[in-house]
Each structure stands twice: as C-alpha cells, then as structure tokens.
C-alpha cells in the first residue's frame, strides 16, 4: 500500500484576492483507483468567514474536522466570539503537533477574512502542524504538483471577487483533470468581508 496521503485522493487550494479570499476543493472519495463517492466535500466552516480545507486520508479528514468543530465550538462558548483565522491557524498547528509521533495524515488549508482587521488570510500546514504563511496561494492534496503549476501560472495579485472565482476554478479544474485520484466535481467558496458565495462546479466526471 502506498502513502496514507494518497489512498483516498483529493485536492484543495486557497487564494488571496483584493479584500477577498477563495478556497476550493474537489469532491472525490476513492479507495486507490476505485471511486466510492463523488460528493465528499473537504472544506469545513468554522466561523462566518473562516474555512478549513482538509485533504489526505479520508478517515483523518473526518476525525480532524470533527475535532476542530468541537474545539472551535468550545472556543466560541468560552470566549463568546467567533474564532479569527489567525487563532484557528495556531489552534490547528498546536493540535496537529500534539500528534507529532503518530500524526493525522492530512494537509490542511485555511482561508478566511479577519473580521477585526478586515484583512484576508490564508495559510497551509503539513501533517504535524508546521504553518506555511503564503501571501498568494496554498495548495494541497494528490494534485498539489499540478495545482502549483496552474496557480503559479494563472494567479495574479489584487484580483476582485469574480476574477478570483474564475482563477481558482480554472486552476483547480485544470489541475485535477491531470490527476487520476482527484476530480469528480468541485466546490468553491468566495469569501468577502461580509458575504460568502458558495458554488458547485461540475467538472469532468471521470
């Protein structure tokens, strides 16, 4: 059996625009070459403008998303406020590092807008919680090589919400079409200061 990271397949990407961020994922869940489901979203909501994408081993995508739902709910109850993307980033980092010698096989991607500063924020992590603060985009999953290529080629600074949607969608769809373990439709979130748009993309069904 191969690496736990590419048993189930999947891809996720986040991008920064002008006063907006976008995060997108594919919808496939497979076991090696066999596709089990074409409706397995990998992006989870943790505050009105904060989203976390999880790729990797599907069981850990489930476990980690459940774990952070619990942790973020506890945070909201204690603090009586929503968690900021920056705080969530550090929560994700420390929680993953707790399992330093028996990690969750996930590569998280975080995207959001900080409601206090109004500034967009994205970051990515490795499976043991090392944070990658990027100013442009973050990619993860079995199509990460392809995503690096498409994002590096298509992305430009200060894209507006609609242009950012087009960019992230084209980058993701083109990337997953060159990866056998990802695809089967996609989900895209465009996050603006006080508006979130969710779109479903059909993409190639093979």
């Amino acid at each position: 059996m191969g690496s736990p990271f590419d048993i189930n397949g999947g891809a996720c990407v986040a991008m920064v625009g002008k006063d907006c961020v976008a995060i997108a994922c594919d919808l496939r869940l497979g076991m090696q070459a066999l596709t089990i489901s074409n409706n397995f979203p990998k992006i989870f909501n943790f505050a009105p403008s904060t989203y976390l994408g999880l790729t990797g081993l599907a069981t850990d995508v489930n476990t980690v998303s459940d774990l952070f739902r619990y942790k973020v709910n506890m945070y909201r109850l204690r603090e009586e406020r929503h968690i900021s993307p920056q705080t969530l980033a550090n929560l994700v980092s420390s929680s993953l590092y707790e399992k330093r010698f028996g990690p969750f096989f996930v590569s998280p991607v975080l995207a959001g807008i900080n409601q206090t500063t109004g500034k967009p924020f994205i970051c990515g992590f490795d499976s043991i919680g090392c944070i990658d603060f990027a100013k442009d985009f973050i990619v993860s999953g079995t199509a990460s090589d392809q995503l690096f290529g498409t994002c590096e080629g298509l992305w430009e600074p200060d894209l507006g919400a609609e242009d950012l949607f087009e960019t992230i969608s084209q980058a993701l769809l083109s990337a997953v079409d060159r990866d056998a373990l990802s695809g089967w439709g996609a989900q895209v979130y465009i996050i603006e200061k006080d508006k979130v748009t969710q779109r479903l993309l059909k993409g190639r069904q093979d």
């Binding site: 090589d145 392809q146 290529g149 498409t150 590096e152 084209q170 083109s174 079409d177 060159r178 059909k202």
Partner: protein
Amino acid sequence: MDHQARETVGYSFSESTASGVKQHGFYPYTDNGGSTLGITGSDFAILAGDTRSTSGYNINSRMVPKVFKIGGDDETGEGANIVLSVVGFAADGTALKERLDTVVRMYKYQHGKPMTVSACAQRLSTILYQKRFFPYYVHAILAGLDEEGKGALYSYDPVGSYEREQCRAAGAAASLIMPFLDNQVNFKNQYIPGSGEGHALAAKKAEPLPLETVKGLVRDAFTSAVERHIEVGDNLQMVIITKDGIQEVYHPLKKD
C-alpha cells in the same frame, strides 16, 4: 526519487553473491532533472527547455541545452528542419540525439531529400523500442513542420510509444506545466459565456495560437516552473521552427 528509480528499474550488473558479503551495485541511470516543453501553431513549432543539469541536490551545470537540431550541419546545425528535445538521463539523451542525427543525415545522403518529420518520428520510435529492455531513460519530444507546412509535434515515452499532439510538457516539472497548457493552449475547462444555460454551455474550441502568444505562454510556463521546482532554472532555451528556418533564443531564468 533516486531510490525509487533504482528500485523500480532494479538494474545492476553485479551478480548476487552470498549474504553478508559487501556488494557493489552499479546503477546505469541518473536523473538529471530539468524540463522541456513543446507547442505547435498553424505555421510554426516551438520546443523549449531549461538549461540546468542536476544530480540529486547538486547543480552540475547551468548551461546544458536539452533541445537539439537534427539532421543539420555537424557544428552549426544549419540546414536542419527537425528539432529534438530530451529530458531525463542526460547521457542517454545525448546518445539518442547523436543516433537520430546520424540517421536523418544518412537519409539525406542516401535519398537526396530531407527526411519528413512524420518519417523521423516513426524512426525515433523504432530506435527507442530497439532498446526495450535497457531503455534510453528519456522523455523525448520531436518537432518540425509537416508536409503541409503546419507545426508538428511528437512526444515519446522512454520505450517508443508516441503520439502527435498540439502541446506537451516533459521532465521534472511536467506535472506543473501540463495542466497549465491544457487550460491555456487547448482551452480545457473554458466555456463560451452566454452560449447556453447551466451545463449546456458550449466549450471553447482549441485553435492554433499566434507565435507571439505561444512564446509568452512558454516563458510563463517556465517562470512558473522555476518558482516551484528546484530542478528547473538558470536559462530558458527556446527553439522556433518556421518555414524560414530554425531560430534559437535564450532567456535568463532564476538561478536560485
């Protein structure tokens, strides 16, 4: 990667001896990194490659071209109308280029006319397949102009399977460049706005792009690849084949 290649290829000249005795293995292949890319237009073809040569994390050289003129003058390559790019194991790449070059020149001497690209493409496939069980460890791309003067591009796997295509990326950063090309050259996943409701939208049809656009795409593809792949960089070698001959240009890439 190095270890994987060794395991899967599993080639060694040493006979297995009794266990406990130290064995020397000889691995006949190295990965020299780098990337190549070819795109065709209605009356031209472009083959490009970076000029970095690596082994592991070391840079052997910053100026080792991967794109060669085939069938031209010995020194200058003048008179050639076919171009070959090779990426993978550089020694095999050089050997392959030398063999094909000889074949194409012999053809001209014997037949008194230059070899067509389609004939050369078939010949290259044969050369590669002849070494089916000790392959040239390269991903080759052959380019030229076909009998109608249209850009022609053929890509190969190491054992000679080949296909004529509009565009192809090969080598270390192929996985980064290829989906970008799908999107920007063949317009994959692009639809014509307002051509239909919902999923009935008409797909944007791929058509040959003008030379300047293609040049731009090649440079964008490589600057992107350089940014994210350590084995790609230093210089971009771009070879443009038109009816007026072959033009070769170099552009600097990041050297980090």
